[in-house]
């Protein structure tokens, strides 16, 4: 131990010695600063490389759908670049993909607190909320994402997010809630972007916005009149609008295999049947009108009789007490009156459609939805006539 050795003799000597030592210390300090700066630079460089390497590994793991490996890789990357928002974002995405939604959300929320307007973070949170079946949060985050900040292709990204939101709502069956966003989506589609027009038309169709859907499909067909999806969609839209002629037209232009798809085939068949049965079609000769009126009344009466038999209701009832019996009596009365007097053909057709509709509805109430195509056609004809009269 030599710390308590006597200091040099004179104060001046001590001062000079201290001055020299201090200056020497400062010189050593400066030298060490340079050395440390060099070391620190090398260190930071290697650390950054390691971070980037692990990040790249994480990306490739994620591409090969190995979310667990990707999580570990991203975590390793974050050791070398702690707090890097890109790494954290990808880690959170990997966590979400591996089903660890809670943890993923906590990462996303932390990132969101740093950049609350971020579109991609809100979208990620919306997807987690959607996965966790909390529609209110999902819709809120989707809307935040739509109105949020997107660094690349903001218009396109917003459109994509809105499309995802519409799909999510329609998948949930929330058609009414989806409609404003589907309409907004349609308004944001350029006239020349047929791919997006097709996507939007599909969503419009699912959102029961038939008119807009038909217009959009027509626009697509202007560019490519053989686009099968557009033809099918336009046919469906026209069918739902009660425009069975154009619907049949669109369906007829589809290739056979497409036309035979159950849904299309059903609609196409019904459209043809309606075209054949509808007494209210404009331009029909009076005799044809009368014939069709008789026919649809006959179809409806037969269904009523069938249903009454199933339910044990006697037809005709005397006196007709049951609503079933009353409608049946009215039908028979109407048929008798037609035989007695030669009435106006169009009036007969209208009355026949109206009564047939009542019969079908009464039968549907007791015996369920009609299975027979002809009955379905009668109902649709009556709905069409109601729509026309309105």
């Amino acid at each position: 131990m030599n710390s308590s050795e006597p200091s040099p003799s004179t104060p001046v000597h001590v001062g000079q010695s201290r001055e020299r030592v201090l200056i020497l210390s400062l010189a050593i300090l400066a030298g060490l600063f340079v050395v440390t700066a060099f070391l620190a630079r090398q260190y930071h460089r290697s650390i950054h490389h390691l971070g980037d390497d692990w990040y790249a590994k994480g990306e490739s793991s994620l591409k090969s759908r190995d979310a667990a490996a990707a999580i570990q890789d991203y975590r390793n990357a974050l050791v070398y670049k702690p707090g890097d928002p890109t790494f954290e974002f990808h880690l959170a995405q990997a966590l979400a993909r591996s089903g660890r939604d809670e943890l993923a959300r906590s990462y996303f929320l932390t990132l969101l607190s740093a950049s609350p307007g971020s579109g991609k973070l809100n979208l990620a949170l919306a997807r987690i909320a959607a996965q966790e079946n909390s529609p209110a949060s999902a819709v809120r985050y989707y809307h935040n994402a739509i109105y949020g900040v997107w660094e690349e292709n903001p218009l396109s990204m917003r459109w994509q997010v809105r499309r995802e939101l519409c799909q999510y709502l329609l998948d949930l069956g929330a058609v009414q809630e989806a409609q404003p966003d589907v309409i907004a989506l349609a308004q944001e589609v350029s006239r020349s972007d047929y791919a997006r027009q097709k996507i939007t038309a599909d969503l419009l169709l699912r959102a029961a916005l038939w008119n807009r859907a038909l217009d959009m499909y027509r626009s697509v067909l202007l560019a490519d009149s053989r686009d099968h999806d557009a033809l099918a969609g336009a046919g469906q839209a026209a069918f739902h609008l009660g425009r069975y002629g154009p619907a049949r037209n669109y369906f007829d232009r589809l290739p056979r295999e497409r036309r035979e798809a159950p849904e299309i085939a059903g609609m196409a068949g019904l459209s043809s049947l309606i075209e054949e049965m509808n007494p209210l079609l404009p331009g029909l000769p009076a005799s044809e009108q009368r014939k069709r009126a008789d026919a649809i009344l006959g179809v409806a009466t037969a269904r009523l009789e069938n249903c009454a038999q199933q339910r044990g209701i006697t037809l005709p009832g005397k006196p007709p007490l049951d609503p079933f019996q009353q409608i049946y009596s009215t039908g028979r009365e109407m048929s008798r009156s037609w035989r007695r007097a030669a009435d106006h053909a169009s009036e007969r057709a209208a009355n026949a459609v109206s009564l047939a509709a009542r019969m079908e509805e009464a039968a549907s109430e007791r015996c369920g939805a009609p299975q027979n195509r002809a009955d379905q056609a009668v109902l649709l004809i009556s709905q069409g006539s109601e729509g026309t009269s309105r």
Binding site: N2, P8, V14
Partner: protein, 593 residues
């Protein structure tokens, strides 16, 4: 200085003369300043040195940090989950290297840096050999880099202290300053390691020096700031942990933190008792075991690390994950428990390294785990797991290291959020009280006593009851007279209490002692004094106040039979009197208690 060229013109000459005068004056001023700094005013030199020491310590900590990380990457690989052969081999080989280094090259690096710094202050006149600095750097970098479960803060503290000691000795500082310079360096080292200057200053004051000494406080602060600035220059200003947002707790949530305090106190106690019990037993093993103990600890840690690599090494990245709620409660509690084991293995094996980081690790895991359990049973508890982990860090710091003030400030400093202050105050205080209640000697004192030193315990000193003048004084121990009192009256009163000394109050604040014999003489003499003020007296007496420490009285009481204790509100009103026998009586009683 160059002489002017004879060929130069007159204005040129005068300009040169002016410059020469200026340089001469500057030189004189420099000489005066350096004389002032280096010879006459050592306090100023001490402050300048504090900045230099801080810069050196900061650089040392930066290099230390880099060395640990590089060794870790080289030995364990860059993944958080090291591959199988590495996870076992690295700590075993690292342990062997550390054992050989400590036995053959750096025998003084074993043990706690805090205690060695304290020993330097109280025993070795501020002397810490510079080889200890190099030894700590090398051995701790190898140990921590190879996965031993210890921390870099305590070695950083000692490296700072060693650097300061070396600079102080080289500058031939006075012995008094040499003793104080080690804590200055210690604060610098710790501040840089923690990136938390306030906590470092408080820790050194709370644990190393033990008192708020004005003589060293300024230097400690300057050194801490200087080291942190240097460290941030190279490693960036990001805090040690990225703390998630902490909300101010609702009143009911304090109960949740109180429970954490109770658990933290019990865990601290358990850990301390284990170290206290096991360390002497391991030290008593044959000397050849010193070669294998660090490797054996490394083997145990490596074996655990196959399943739980999180407990290996310093663990800052894992703490960061816990603070961000990335572990389930079961894993958090298991990690806390396993970290206690691994830290115990490393520390008890004699591997150099600190206990700060493991304490924070255990606290974070324990806090997060307890918080998650409480959230499970109390659904309305909105506090995040991260907040519990943060408070847990402070709790263990308070309970295990027994530094309650530092723990609170450390949490504030690393979180940058005052909302965490109240919970950590509650939790840390409870842990501290539990630990103190069932473990009278704090950890650092246990270690020094086991090493055969009896350093002053800062906790005992902190809790030492100061004996005041009012504890020793006698309320009615003297006859007090005023200058105007007739002698006859005074004589009468003096006769009633023959043993009581006579105190004369000349005016408020001026008290004198009367001699009974003089008083008798005045009575016997017909031409004698008529009032007390006329009697010959001794004084003025030093006056004392009731709230002053007894040490103050000891400075004067030897010269006087008795000292007056007066009221601070009225210097003419006596509260009591104090004699040497009164002081001795109360000191004797305190010693017996």
């Amino acid at each position: 200085m160059n002489l002017p060229d004879p060929s130069t013109s007159q204005p040129e000459k005068s300009r040169l003369a002016f410059v020469s005068r200026l340089l001469h004056q500057a030189h004189s001023a420099w000489q005066a300043w350096t004389r002032d700094i280096f010879v006459e005013r050592e306090e100023r030199l001490f402050l300048v040195l504090a900045i230099v020491i801080g810069a050196f310590s900061g650089l040392a900590v930066v290099c230390f940090h880099i060395a640990i990380d590089w060794i870790r990457i080289l030995s364990l690989g860059s993944s958080l989950r090291p591959s199988f052969p590495r996870v076992i081999l690295a700590p075993v080989i690292g342990g062997l290297a550390v054992a050989l280094l400590t036995i053959y090259l750096f025998p003084r690096v074993r043990g706690s840096g805090v205690n060695q710094t304290k020993a330097a202050v109280y025993v070795w006149d501020g002397y810490i050999p510079f080889s200890t600095v190099i030894g700590k750097f090398v051995t701790c970098a190898v140990a921590l880099g190879s996965g031993q479960s210890l921390g870099p803060e305590d070695p950083s503290l000692q490296m700072g202290a060693g650097i300061a000691s070396k600079i102080g000795r080289t500058l031939h500082l006075s012995q008094r300053k040499l003793r104080l310079i080690a804590p200055v360096g210690a604060a610098a080292g710790l501040a840089a390691a923690f990136n938390a200057p306030i906590s470092a200053v408080l820790f050194v004051i709370e644990e190393v020096i033990g008192t708020w000494s004005a003589g060293v406080l300024g230097a400690i602060i300057l050194a801490a700031v200087s080291s942190v600035v240097t460290m941030r220059w190279f490693l960036g200003s990001a805090p040690l942990f990225r703390i998630p947002a902490v909300q101010a707790p609702r009143p009911v949530e304090f109960f949740a933190y109180a429970i954490l305090g109770v658990v933290g106190g019990c865990v601290s106690l358990l850990f301390t008792k284990w170290v206290e019990y096991s360390r002497p037993k391991i030290q008593a093993l044959p000397s050849w075991t010193r070669y294998v103990l660090p490797s054996a600890a490394g083997l145990a840690i490596g074996a655990i690390g196959i399943w739980m690599p999180q407990v290996m090494g310093v663990g800052y990245a894992i703490m960061d994950q816990a603070l961000h709620g990335q572990f389930a409660w079961k894993l958090l509690l298991i990690l806390a428990l396993v970290k206690i084991l691994t830290t115990g293995f490393s520390f008890l094996s004699g591997t150099p390294g600190g206990l700060f980081a493991p304490t924070l690790f255990i606290g974070a895991m324990l806090g997060g785990g307890i918080g998650a359990i409480e959230q499970h049973f109390v659904p309305g508890l909105n506090t995040s797991i991260g907040a519990f982990a943060l408070v847990g860090m402070g709790t263990l710091f308070g309970g295990f290291l027994r530094v309650p003030i530092t723990s609170v400030f450390m949490v504030i400093e690393v979180s940058g959020n005052y909302a965490a202050a109240l919970p950590v105050m509650v939790s840390s205080l409870i842990a501290y009280l539990i630990s103190r209640r069932y473990q009278s000697v704090p950890l650092f004192d246990i270690l020094t006593r086991q090493d055969g030193l009896l350093l002053p315990s800062t906790e005992e000193r902190r809790e030492h009851v100061v004996i005041l003048v009012e504890d020793a004084m006698r309320g009615n121990g003297a006859i007090v007279t005023r200058a105007a009192e007739p002698v006859a009256d005074l004589v009468q009163r003096a006769a009633a209490r023959e043993d009581a000394p006579l105190l004369l109050c000349v005016r408020p604040g001026e008290w004198r002692l009367l001699d009974r014999e003089d008083l008798q003489r005045q009575v016997a003499d017909p031409a004698g004094a008529t009032t007390a003020g006329d009697i010959k007296s001794r004084g003025p007496l030093p006056i004392l106040f009731p709230d002053e420490p007894i040490d103050e009285a000891l400075r004067w009481v030897g010269d006087w039979l008795i000292l007056p204790v007066v009221s601070r509100a009225d210097l003419g009103r006596i509260e009591g009197v104090l004699s040497l026998s009164d002081i001795l009586k109360v000191l004797h009683k305190a010693a017996k208690d």
